[in-house]
């Protein structure tokens, strides 16, 4: 280590000591916020998994989100399975592996939930399951959620997180947009409340259907919300686009989001909206 010879305070012994220390530092001790680039101790991370500096909500699994969000939950439709409509090579294996990892049958968790005294229908999309993409099972579960809510006169709260259509399921993925929209329409016609919470990222066909259909649309700070992919836009118009074009804050400024809500406050906000945002029964 010739490099260190010029420093008379650093001996061979020091360097060895440093190496040993290095090995004792656990992995993932530091985290870096993808939004503001602040580095912070993983220990500082609360169960909400947000950046202590800018409140960006990290991408988390549906089950992790569920753990602090509601007081009670009973899950629906855990047995539905994709029938691999394109016979896409390796798709069934990929789904199986992810099912084990996420303990979900597809990219959304649905069920009946309770916050305080309000019972409602809840859906949480999971960005760790093929980037929350909209497959046939995802579409069927969300459709059934709205049908259940309509039948039982409940509000729906849906957390979106999605890269858009499920490539491996082709055109049938597109048809889910129409199927879900019809169920939303019936739910709306029954005078029932639909609240969307946009989380990072919400894009493509999900933005172009049920993510933008809420009576009230909330979003987590700095989450990506858009229709077309940034690279597709830049290639098409041959120009760089601003970094924050598809940030929830910019989408709000253009009139498509009602409020930005920090993850720590979501439960409180939902409790209030579920009680006061829907039909006036007083």
């Amino acid at each position: 280590m010739k490099l260190y010879e010029q420093y008379n305070t650093l001996s061979e012994r020091h360097i060895k000591a440093d190496r040993n220390a290095d090995a004792k530092v656990p992995d993932n001790m530091w985290l870096k916020c993808p939004h503001c680039n602040t580095t912070f101790f993983a220990r500082q991370l609360t169960p909400f998994t947000t950046c202590p500096s800018c409140d960006y909500g990290f991408r988390i699994s549906a089950r992790q989100r569920l753990s602090w969000l509601v007081d009670n939950f009973s899950e629906f439709d855990t047995d539905l399975q994709t029938n691999d409509p394109l016979n896409f090579p390796g798709y069934r294996e990929k789904v199986k592996k992810l099912q084990k990892q996420t303990k979900l049958n597809d990219s959304v968790l649905t069920g009946e939930a309770k916050i305080a005294s309000t019972t409602f229908s809840l859906g949480i999309m999971d960005p760790t399951f093929i980037m929350g993409s909209l497959g046939t099972v995802t579409g069927e579960k969300i459709t059934r959620l709205f049908e259940y809510a309509t039948k039982h006169q409940q509000s729906v709260v849906l957390f979106t997180a999605s890269g858009g259509a499920r490539m491996q399921e082709g055109i049938l993925s597109l048809m889910q947009m129409a199927k879900i929209s019809q169920a939303i329409q019936r739910h709306a016609a029954a005078g029932l409340l639909y609240i969307v919470v946009l989380t990072d990222p919400t894009t493509g066909g999900v933005t172009a259907s049920f993510a933008m259909d809420g009576d009230i649309i909330l979003a987590e700070p700095h989450s990506l919300v858009g229709f077309a992919g940034r690279r597709v836009i830049e290639q098409t118009i041959q120009q760089k686009v601003p970094r924050d074009l598809q940030s929830a804050e910019n989408v709000l400024a253009h009139g498509f989001i009602d409020r930005i809500v920090r993850r720590q406050e979501e439960k409180k906000v939902l409790e209030w909206l579920l009680r006061n945002g829907g039909a006036n029964n007083g």
Partner: protein, 258 residues
Amino acid sequence: MGKKLSAMDIVGRARSDRKITGIEIINNIFDDFMELHGDRLSDDDPAIVGGIALFHNQPVTVITTNRGSNTSEKIKTHFGSAMPAGYRKSLRLIKQAAKFNRPVLCFVNTAGAFPSKDAEEKGQGAAIAQNILQISSLPIPIITVIYGEGGSGGALALACGDEVWMLEDSTYSILSPEGFSSIMWKDSARTAEAAELMQMTPQKLLEKKIIDGIIPESDNHLQTCQAIDQVLWHHLKVLQKLDKEQLIQMRMARYRKF
């Protein structure tokens, strides 16, 4: 039909410069066409052309995507890729049709909704979402003919009514085969393989009941228009016999099965 074409051959034909245009279809199928402009919010997108026309002496609302016929029009229409204002104009016209109990006929040939900074900030996603949501409950017959490319949500926004038909040489998919192969395999050389796998051709889509039928196409555009006319005339008559409740129930069932 009967020709053995690969999926990529059909993609090529769907995108061909000699492809029939929406304006040709309107001029040949309808006796009169009164174009109506604007989304009543801020813009008029030339990539969507719509208005009222006479179809076998009956007033109908007609909407088509428009790729433009010369360079300057092609630029203004983004080669047939609509802005949010285009979708909002189409929804306005379809709601107007519902008010006056006029059937709606849509003609679609688009690579997809236009991706740009402006389109994002004006709510491309929200505009398409509103079409899909609101069209689902409008109780007038709505038939769509895809006559070239049916590109993703931008096509679905005008193809979510009672029946969807396709010309023989057209496609309908979640994205282009080029995009698909580059996303799935990071390899744009596998485009032909992607086109085959995606099942984006009329025959495959008919097997999956995504579409209701295939309309034969000819190099003679007049003949193609006659074939479209026949299908629309026949199927419109059937749909118009249904009462409003039945029509909506059947439309719901059409999409619920997917």
